[in-house]
Symmetry: D2
Subunit: 445 residues, 4 copies
């Protein structure tokens, strides 16, 4: 059991082991110490503090073994102060003082708690970015493969959960892929935009640093691999956007997860995921990947509304604003990552059953061609006649247990109107071609 | 560092140490094992399984040292199965088998994963109830004391953040207290209502238990100190209500926290909380209790919307439904508890400054009596005259730097209309008496 | 009133005609005028204002023809003042002055804008209650009838959207009914609790009324058919609870709507709602009732989180607090009502297809009896043997295209373990009896 | 159209007159008819339907006088079908048939309801864009002016609602402006991205149009001034992003509104908005613009969470998905616009009181220089000495009623450490210069 120990069971389905580590105490404290070290070096570079003090501070920050801290006390101090920066600075001062009492004067020099907390959060989000990306790529690769393999696999299109017209599974997989890919690009873009340093000092004007404020902020950014920025103590759009884009990605993931659970229904049977078992029923193959993805993804909109609610930070720094964000963003990114991982696991090993897709299509007895028939009949015989003929053929099909196309071919008015066009009214080539055209557009998009 | 180790820094302001323990792995796994043990005993009591097997199972469940488990593997299995019940049952079966292979047959007999997860969550919520209550009582006691002490402490009423008419701080504290008390009674009632066993088996009909289903469910409830109930695999109102009532309580807590932060503004200065320091500014006394309370309370509505979103569980048990609830309810209760604790700490040590309250009232130069003057003038001289006179006196007060009552007394039309009533137009007795009448109503309510 | 004025296609699926009328301008303004009239009468009854003035005011309030107002100007004034009470009082004063200038002095005497807005909202919610109730009763009646009719209609239980064990449609309908009924009782209870007058005057202490405050408030409540209460300008729990209970009801409605859409899938085909057509496909029978119900119900959690977010009203009356609630509660109640009406229409005319239910059950080739077999085998032969036998029979069933019970009966080890018990391993009587026991418990609950 | 028809006092503070018109029935139906007309023309251009039929259809669509429709019936049909496209197509077919029965065959040819609903929503959002922009520009202009005028107006920086270090009002106004401007650019960008046509036909593959699908979609987009796109029936990211960016803008607006309400507190008195009156208190000047802005802005996160929740559209078109979006997006955009307008009105006429700002700063008795003193003392005498000296001076300042800088100058250890640097410890030049540097960075950003 280490500081990097597993996440909590209560939250187990809302994170991944990798993301749990990114948002662990060790990781967050490490990021805050990195910021304090980088700040000291940046200030020394601009003669705000002595170079030797900066080196001592940076060395002390690096030397702290987070695993050895009394975290219970640290958290109590954090709660008392409403910020972890207070106990962190106290800790760092104590460690620096042990080495060089004079250097202790220059710890956290001219900074405010929120400078450290915000910049550490940004660094942490960048680490999360690296953990999220492989799962996103696994999904894209798996869905691209499935889409290509099934470019000609005909299946029922379903709208409002009812049979619509035929499509291909290749198109469906491409739609899934386009949604996840678009969502990921949004998250990725938001994370890139959020890659900015926070350094504003007490009231956001860097007044403690006199003329060196802008330069120190730039140097600090540079050291940490971030972009410089005017202070953003109360302008939280970039952080909020990380959350909102996660929610949009989570929506795309939930769509895939829900569609797969629907396709896996015994009565549909068009796909199967390598699923979980049941504690009660030996025969069951649960869509557990979908369950995990849906449980995680459906958390995200509410988490994000909490994040958005907190946007109105009072005056120069808020009463509780960024404290809300730490928890909300941490939970949002982790839940999104949990959905991403669960969908990746699911689609990578998704089995697809073209025969069953075809059988379900056939089981509609050709009613899925009613739109095509209706359009052709409208063009040939007018709207009223088309309505009359299609309706009659649908009834006959039901009454006589024949297919709708067969019923049409037995219908004199239909024959008069469409002639030989009736022969191909139920050919699937056009459906496949149309689906393929859209699929290719999606893959290029 | 034990399994009961401190919560995570990222969530530190969203829970309390006590609640973190309630929702710890040890606590949750313990609750799940308690349910499995109680189930075995209840089934033995109704001859569904052999008594000796039940005793072996219960003993094995009690003997499991949660701290010694490989939680990383346990969580991986949980993620794979979308439920902790699968690895838990596997664990318990293994331990029972070590003692008596035959007894292993009767572990988790006729139950489904969600029976265990739901009942364990209910047990956990009851433990949370015990942890929340003392903080609620601390708030009620502190506010009742403040309200009594300040029953005659006059202060500005403020509406839309502007001076309104005089009230007492006793009334304000009573309003705070009534809000928190009402919120707590709601949470408490919802937790009491949620105190029901979940036992439905595979599809919610307890079919595996034949005629014994109802009796076993009742015995299980009894053993665990819960109420019996028809299965509620997909009827989640009682759980959801725990969340929504927490949100209502959190709103009442946020009101207290925000009001205190507003009263603590340097320019207002009517109250002070034992506050946190600043990492940058030695002079500061931050309303850190309010900051923690607001950060926690403002998370709750979003968490609850996630919980409510998940209510539509499909068919007999949902794809992801209860999994969402575990995380959402855990986070909701903990965040509410964090706000409760922060407000309790704040109001118990709140300093109130009656002199400053009086000074702020006086600084309005008596405009706070304009409503009373207006009403008396309307009764005496009609609406138009009242409007004219009050407006004139307000202008004169501003122009000449005198109080509004003084300006009224210099106004001939006012004097003609009100005569000696003008002498008492700025007496505070009536305001205190009115506030006291409402205060007493609130305390009784 | 011109066409440029409000209109609501955009919100058409989020309300019903009846509820739209309840929240119409005419209704709201009428309610506000009712409050002003009742206030005058209550004040006259306690000698706060002259009886003749009160009668004039009440008569003038009743005489206002809301349809003839210039609503564009009224709304502009409302926006300017952040409350409709300002233009409303101006309007009423003007009308009273036309009749008796002296009486105009006593319009809105000692009240504050929020007293009128809150009490009018409460009155409006009571009217909404009356509109919602019949739809709730339609659902209960229809589901009770369906449940009774299908007490013995066997169907697949489905968990995680996979076949579980057999239940009855009677049980499923009873579960739906219990959820909606529980939700409606919650909403109904919350609306009853919210039936309180708001009367606090400028700062919530009724100071303008001196010793008569409590009595006037009680008389006002009595006239309007509401309960008296201490002022609740900033204690919004009862209003918020109307919203949260609506959300819980909406969740229960969404469950019914989603389950029906799932049952209506062509591949499942176990139910059919009198559905909407398609603009493209003549053959389609869309679950449009489910679509409307889901669209409305899924709006509610977010609306409610907005409501909950606004709970922390500052000081004696908030900056924007109740204004947020008007819109949020209006939208919440209307969306809940839209879902209620759509589900009522759907279940009243729901067709159920027992043959198809049976066919889907049979199509599982008896794997749904695997839980029962497993439990009996565990009891007879131990956990390991049971697992081995069931697994072997499942494989054989799949490989040989026979049913799982048939495969079991061909399995020597199974025969040795269970003997004649194997004969009845696939009898549905027990499933029906178990479902019936739970169904009866639910109907009583 | 009668008074019983829609109406909106309940929503009055959640929209503006201009936006209410954009989302009016006339506007939405007009947009839908525009789409049907453009579709006919696009199909004629690619020989899918006869040119003469297209002209008849387009002319009939243009000729429909929306004001003359029986909207009650239209809405009933919309509810029945779960889409307004069904009654709309019926209406258009009837009108075309009156002119040329043959042309009626080609109305809505190859399209699905959601093609029309989605594209009409996109067109409507573009119109909303035009209505929102002027208010955004008013805010930017007003805040830029205020920022420039007050570049040297010193005021208290306030963090956690406590006095921090001095800033300028110019900086504060620039921070407000940067937030709103950033939010507006996000909304504007999202609206531009959403400017795409929806045209996918029954199942999103445009199968009814054969090889002409892509070309017709492109022509349709071109006619309507939109970008072409693969169908996005279930990929809703672009629509959702309109909502989420609105929420981020609303947060920036809420910050301005709340800050202004805080500055307007009588005890602070640093700003005044041309406010609304009170129905009870003649003296009051309420921050009604802030109240309206906050009430509107705080609705948005919840509305957006509803929108995000609905993202997981099932299969090729969802059960209720886009229906949820219409209402949610309509409400989101209107509420954001209400906040935008209220903030624009407020900041355009905001009065700023530099004398009061200075007085509030002075009333802190120089403690706001404690950070600067502390930093200089740390550099000169070490961390421990600095802490000791500042603490002593703060105490002395309080005890003797002198300023903190004065107390420092009386402190021997401080004099030894800082010498003449103490003379300028309370000069504001550096604070103004620092604020100005950040202000200029923000204006450029």
């Amino acid at each position: 059991v280490s500081l990097e120990r597993p996440d909590r069971l209560i939250d187990a389905l809302s994170t991944t082991p990798a993301l749990s580590r990114v948002f662990s105490d060790a990781s967050l404290l490490g990021a805050m110490l990195d910021v304090e070290a980088a700040l000291a070096m940046a200030e020394a570079a601009h003669d705000v503090i002595p170079a030797s003090a900066a080196e001592t501070i940076a060395a002390a920050a690096r030397a702290i073994d987070v695993a050895s801290l009394d975290m219970e006390a640290f958290l109590a101090d954090t709660r008392h102060a409403a910020t972890p920066a207070i106990p962190l600075v106290a800790l760092l001062v104590a460690r620096v003082r042990d080495v060089d009492p004079a250097a202790a004067a220059f710890v956290h020099y001219g900074a405010t708690s929120q400078d450290i907390a915000d910049t550490a959060l940004v660094l942490t989000l960048q680490r999360a970015h690296e953990r999220l990306e492989p799962d996103s790529q696994r999904i894209s690769a798996a869905l691209a493969r499935l889409s290509d393999e099934h470019a000609s696999t005909v299946m029922l299109g379903r709208t409002l959960l009812q049979p619509a017209t035929p499509i291909t599974f290749g198109l469906k997989a491409a739609v899934w892929g386009a949604g996840v890919s678009e969502g990921w690009q949004r998250v990725s873009g938001a994370l890139a935009q959020a890659r900015t340093v926070q350094f504003g000092g007490a009231s956001g004007s860097r007044s403690a640093l006199g003329a060196q404020g802008t330069a120190v902020a730039a140097a600090l950014a540079d050291t940490l691999g971030l972009r410089p920025s005017p202070p953003w103590h109360t302008r939280r759009a970039r952080l909020a956007a990380v959350g909102t884009e996660c929610a949009i990605l989570a929506g795309a993931l939930a769509k895939v997860a829900r569609d797969i659970a629907l396709l896996m229904q015994a009565e549909v049977g068009e796909a199967a995921a390598a699923g979980g078992g049941s504690s009660a029923m030996p025969h069951k193959r649960n869509p557990s990947g979908s369950a995990v993805a849906l449980a995680a993804a459906e958390r995200v909109p509410g988490l994000v509304s909490g994040l958005l609610t907190g946007l109105a930070h009072e005056h120069e720094r808020a009463v509780g604003g960024w404290q809300l964000e730490w928890a909300a963003l941490g939970a949002t990114v982790q839940a999104t990552g949990a959905a991403l991982a669960a969908v990746a696991d699911t689609v990578e090993r998704l089995q697809v059953f073209p025969d069953r897709m075809r059988a379900n299509l056939d089981a509609t007895r050709g009613v899925v061609f009613a739109e095509r028939a209706s359009l052709q009949l409208r063009a040939a015989a007018g709207r009223d006649a088309a309505g009359r003929i299609v309706s009659r053929a649908l009834s006959r099909s039901e009454a006589e247990g024949i297919t709708f196309p067969a019923a049409l071919r037995l219908d004199d008015e239909a024959v008069r109107a469409l002639g030989h066009a009736l022969d191909t009214i139920d050919r699937l080539d056009e459906d496949v071609a149309a689906a393929e055209a859209v699929r290719r557009q999606l893959l290029k998009d």
